[in-house]
Symmetry: C2
Subunit: 269 residues, 2 copies
């Protein structure tokens, strides 16, 4: 299955996305495990010079190649966000891991065409892995041994699922009990995934990811990766993810598992 | 600070520990992300042929070099466990990560001399990192760029601490509320660490690790790594860890943080 195969993503955009990921990684790697100032953003999340410089490097490349394209970045805000093509940039997804010396952080790059995600990259600069999903082609997974196809695996129900969520504290209010219904049913619940969990799902090692309080930078780039690998990713109502989604995300490799988990999320009590 | 500097660990044992880690990694790596049968052990934890073969490879090397030494391994049990020297072997710490295609799993190797840990290795075969702690020398950290010293950082209080625990579900009964007192106070609580969190602590990126329901294979190899880097690792009463400990573990880079976290663990209500 490919993403919106009726409108393939131009290969030039995929090539640019790869250059963006390369550029962000080149900025971030030298800062890894080095002394670095950590500032708090208004939402209390941490940010560093590595986040800011990596996003600036990506924005400069986009502006040079396609000055008419829009950009929405986690650190430097929105420009031309009503353009036909809008890039979504999260230079370091997992900044908390990054500042704790843990290599499990990623650069997320998305491209929207008239508001719909048509291209997504999950790049892990310190772990040497990169997933690319794009409309009209299947998701690929690049790693130390080369690049190959990325395909989800079958998993008929939540009771058989390896489940990931970054933290149990990411679910506000009643969302926590909704998550707990899924977590208690899952065969193997795991924490600490960040964007990497969606890559592992796209490659058929993880069955289910359930998260909340995510920003557009966190979830929009994931959509083409998961869908292009044969998976399903929506909000907790089962609706497609877009700029206006509420930050609740559920991804599954197998549609049956997605449906069953959605039922658990929506159940009362 | 070094581990029990009055009785240095013989260098030949350190060299053997490195060969054990090399051998375990050579067994495990080809199984990573390949189809593999997963069996459930009596405690419901998963085990694979990779765990078993890696431990067998290590046991064969020990038996060839020091047939009089004892061995206690997670998968193949105890032999001569009352010997003067006893090796503690966990071929794959983090088997759940391993079977979910996640490279954050480690081989743990410890050596007890008359019951006291004098040598410990945390080896991450897919992440290319290795911490070695041994009595009479300082902890080292090997990684892609070479091998260097591993030193804890200062952190005066839990309120400033980056805290790791593998999962909030590892704390049975009242232990969960004890953990929660520490977690709520910590500046940055993180999940999903497994043995890697102790390596990051030894290298000064993480301040505190609080865990429970750990086996001797999980915690004894960590002791020389943490202590030899200048840190403190005990049970939740502040007592030294040994074969008879209860599986509750607290490690801190800074002794002040250790004391403050112990007080929170012991507080009532």
């Amino acid at each position: 299955m490919s993403v919106g195969a009726e409108t393939p993503c131009p290969e030039a955009f995929v090539a640019l996305a790869e250059r963006l990921a390369d550029a962000a990684g080149a900025v971030v790697r030298p800062y890894f495990r080095q002394p670095i100032d950590v500032a708090q953003k208004p939402d209390q999340s941490p940010v560093t010079i590595a986040d800011r410089e990596a996003e600036s490097a990506m924005r400069a490349l986009i502006a040079a190649a396609y000055p008419e394209h829009g950009m929405v970045g986690e650190e430097h805000g929105a420009e031309r966000s009503s353009a036909e093509y809008v890039w979504i940039l999260d230079p370091i997804d997992g900044t908390k891991r990054f500042i704790s010396g843990h290599p499990q952080f990623g650069t997320l790059i998305g491209l929207l065409h008239n508001g719909a995600p048509i291209l997504g990259v999950i790049d892990m600069p310190m772990m040497g892995e990169r997933w690319i999903g794009a409309a009209g082609r299947s998701t690929t997974h690049g790693h130390a041994d080369g690049t190959g196809p990325s395909r989800v695996r079958s998993c008929a129900d939540v009771g058989h699922a390896v489940l990931y969520a970054t933290s149990p504290h990411m679910f506000p209010g009643d969302d926590f009990q909704s998550f707990e219904r899924v977590r208690r049913r899952a065969r193997q619940p795991m924490y600490g995934g960040e964007c990497y969990a969606y890559g592992l799902l796209a490659s058929g090692f993880v069955d289910l990811v359930v998260e909340a309080t995510m920003g557009v930078y966190d979830y929009l780039p994931l959509v083409p990766v998961v869908v292009g690998a044969g998976g399903t990713i929506t909000d907790w109502q089962g609706a497609a993810l877009g700029l206006g989604s509420d930050g609740r995300v559920i991804a599954a490799g197998d549609r049956r598992c997605h449906t069953a988990a959605l039922d658990l999320l929506k159940a009362s009590g």
